[in-house]
């Protein structure tokens, strides 16, 4: 079946197309070149004249599955009681605002034109549950980053001075076993150090038991990811999240990686200085400058937006440090299988609160001061900075200077006065938004057939009506296509589909690493090594999700 989208203004940065009027042809879930469709009468035609066409959006960092999301839901029944969603049309009922149920999360993403979301904290030992939950999130393609860096096996390897080769094998084995697409490290070594009663761990501070520093952990993981040819750089949630003055840690992390590719996640939380009367200030300018200067660095922002949400993180050390700010006052910090940790602290960001208002400014400053939109990504670290449903509002803040300054004039005056935001004139263009939320995200993840509209790409397409109010524009797309099927019309889901799981399969020496892992599992773990590995059939046998393996560098 041939579908034609006629006459839309196309924004496809992967091919340098900036608002040109073009027709797009789709056949069997893929975009086809014009010469293949010429002369064929389309079975279905959508009049997109005067409308904006982009690839489906990709959220490259959103907590939509896994243990901590479940804990957040359990901790906050009121989040669900107060936000019930009745079934309607093809959609089933659900609940939840900050930590919505899986079905509701999928529908809401699709209704904003998103067609993929990546869960950034898949703890390998809990990966099975994370995959089940992601598989239960409709409309979206999904994938996960496996969390390493505070697990005992890895820390033992580093402490014993293991060769990089072995670490590479372990990292590759973990990616295979947990069916992930990248590697994330959270507070490198810090989650483990917390359990040895350390309450902070700086970049060059020794873990008191393993005698390993976060710098060393970052370097060996980044090197492993690089040498294995994993497309996505090491995804780093750095040390000292949320601590005033962590700006220096972040800058040291950037220089300390010695030119290896590295992705700094929710960097807003890592860009704080200690200037001013209250010893809390914006480090956005220095951070943005460092990103601009180091082409090996990419970042997503983790913007905060005002309102009630819940922070769910693997970083039990920093979540414990912040638990006193919990609103409502209840929180969870826990160990997970002696392999990592988890902290869930509900939070209400208030626009009249000095710190929160400044955090809001810092995030926006970073967005606007980083020059290359291919290396900065639009996230709120859902739900940590704000629920993902605030993205259209965030896009408007970036695209509309007068709106941004209007909001700036309503927040805490001391924070506004300390921020340079008012003097920044930059407004993002639709092309740059398309880079940040589509083409750039696909490129940084190594998704060769997503995030663009070239021939052969999966037909994940979003059609908007161009409006001056960009929030309204991005809240309600006219059409969303998922793999060629029309799934959303006028901002409402009309057909429920199930997405794919994106993975990679780097090459490695399985026999060598399993000869070390098997006795380790037998001696220390709660399950056998063979059961730890998630098999393809576990994901594909229900007939909904398909595994899509993307090539690593050097693989055909």
């Amino acid at each position: 079946m041939l579908t034609k989208l006629t006459g839309g203004k196309v924004y496809d940065p992967a091919h340098g197309i900036n608002g040109e009027v073009r027709d797009i042809y789709v056949r069997d879930g893929r975009i086809v070149a014009h010469h293949q469709a010429d002369g064929v009468r389309p079975d279905q035609e959508f009049d997109c004249r005067g409308k904006v066409i982009m690839a489906g959006a990709i959220d490259m960092h959103t907590h939509i599955g896994g243990g901590k999301v479940t804990i957040a839901r359990n901790l906050l029944p009121e989040d669900h009681r107060n936000d019930p969603v009745a079934r309607s049309g093809p959609m089933r009922a659900g609940t939840g605002f900050a930590a919505p149920s899986t079905l509701t999360a999928g529908y809401r993403y699709a209704e904003m034109g998103y067609t993929a979301g990546f869960e950034p904290a898949v703890l390998p030992i809990n990966a099975r549950q994370a995959h089940m939950e992601m598989a239960d999130t409709p409309m979206l393609d999904v994938g996960g980053y496996a969390m390493l860096g505070s697990d005992d096996f890895f820390l033992r390897l580093i402490a014993s001075g293991a060769e990089q080769e072995i670490i590479n094998d372990y990292v590759a084995w973990t990616i295979h076993s947990s069916q992930c697409i990248g590697i994330k490290v959270v507070n490198p070594g810090g989650i483990s150090a917390f359990k040895f009663n350390q309450r902070k761990l700086d970049l060059d501070e020794d873990h008191c038991y393993y005698q390993v520093t976060p710098r060393k952990i970052l370097q060996s993981l980044a090197r492993a990811v690089h040498e294995l040819g994993v497309p996505h750089p090491l995804h780093v949630h750095g040390c000292n999240l949320g601590v005033p003055g962590n700006l220096d840690t972040t800058l040291n992390t950037i220089t300390g990686i010695e030119g290896l590719p590295m992705h700094l996640t929710h960097i807003q939380f890592h860009s704080y200085g200690t200037e001013g009367d209250r010893k809390f200030s914006s480090g956005a300018a220095q951070i943005a400058e460092a990103i601009n200067r180091n082409p090996n660095i990419t970042a997503d922002v983790g913007q905060i937006l005002f309102g009630q949400t819940v922070t769910a993180s693997g970083d039990s050390m920093m979540q414990f440090a912040n638990h006193a700010h919990a609103h409502p006052h209840k929180w969870v910090c826990m160990d997970i299988e002696c392999d990592a940790g988890c902290g869930v602290v509900p939070f209400k960001y208030k626009d009249q609160n000095f710190v929160n208002a400044l955090q809001w400014c810092i995030g926006l400053e970073i967005f606007l001061l980083v020059e290359d939109p291919w290396r900065i990504f639009l996230t709120t670290d859902h739900p940590n900075g704000a629920p993902f449903t605030t993205y259209p509002h965030l896009i408007r803040l970036l695209m509309d200077k007068s709106f941004r300054n209007d909001v700036l004039s309503t927040i805490n005056a001391d924070s506004a006065a300390l921020s340079t935001l008012a003097s920044i004139g930059r407004e993002y263009s639709l092309y740059e938004i398309a880079i940040m939320t589509r083409a750039g995200a696909a490129r940084i993840l190594g998704l060769h057939d997503r995030g663009h509209l070239g021939a052969g790409a999966a037909a994940d397409i979003t059609v908007y009506t161009e409006q001056d109010d960009k929030e309204a524009m991005f809240t309600t797309p006219d059409y969303v296509f998922k793999d060629g099927e029309l799934v959303v019309k006028n901002g409402e889901v009309i057909k429920v589909v199930w997405g794919n799981l994106h993975t990679i399969r780097p090459e490695f020496d399985r026999a060598s690493i399993e000869s070390r892992l098997k006795p380790y599992f037998d001696r220390y773990h709660t399950l056998k090594m063979d059961n730890f590995i998630i098999r393809d059939w576990e994901i594909e046998d229900d007939g909904r999700s398909k595994i899509m393996v993307h090539p690593c560098r050097g693989q055909a």
């Binding site: 901790l75 906050l76 029944p77 009121e78 009681r81 409502p328 006052h329 209840k330």
Partner: protein, 273 residues
Amino acid sequence: MTMLILTLRSEPQQRIDVAPLTPDGLLDKSAGEIGDILLQTGNRQVRTGELFDIEGNDASHMVLRGATGKLDFIGRGMAQGMIDVEGDAGSYLGMQMKGGHLVVRGSIGAYGACELKNGTVIIQGNAGDFLGASLPGNKKGMAGGTVIVRGNVGDRAGDHMRRGALLIEGNTGAYLGSRMTAGTIAVLGKTGRYPGYAMGRGTLLLAQAPAEILPTFNDCGTHTLGFIPLLLKGFGGLDTPFSNMSESLRRVRRYAGDMSGLGKGEILVAAGT
């Protein structure tokens, strides 16, 4: 003006959420408009008029006739007027009620008067678990008002209670006043296991010695406490035997706890004369 009488036509198959049927919600509505209000039952919505016969027009005094344990959320959030439930009531009776009077002639299910803010609730029969408690996951239970139960109550009455009074004339289940922050629970009958578990502040006033005092409560001996006659006098306008008990509660044995928590709560047990 005659009082508004809603008579349940037949025993419902599914539970019915009758939260919209409060004096506040019906005050300016005609019988026809009331009949058109949609109520959630099971997975569908049904018109009030299909479930109830409607007589009278004064919604400030409502009667639910033929009520059964399948009617949930009676009087939810009501702020004024009176609901007289002739029969039993389901769960969440008087949840987050802000004022007015609720009288139930029969027994009620779980979470009666949960997160009550103000007003009076009188239960002639028994009440289920979590009377006057907080909703699951919330930190604050009943925060004002008065609840009188003539019969027995289930477990965890007054869980997370913050203010107000629970006056129980029958027996109680386990964990009476668990996690209480403040307020008063008075009991004429027997109490179950673990009274005052994890209570931070607040008062359990017991006419009979409990079967068990947790080891985390400290016996402080018997006292004549000046505040008790004042407290009981405060119940004066209510139809409750507690208002006349200043003599039998003249001397009380005081247990302070729960020392595993904040430990500023107390269990006061009548010590005779």
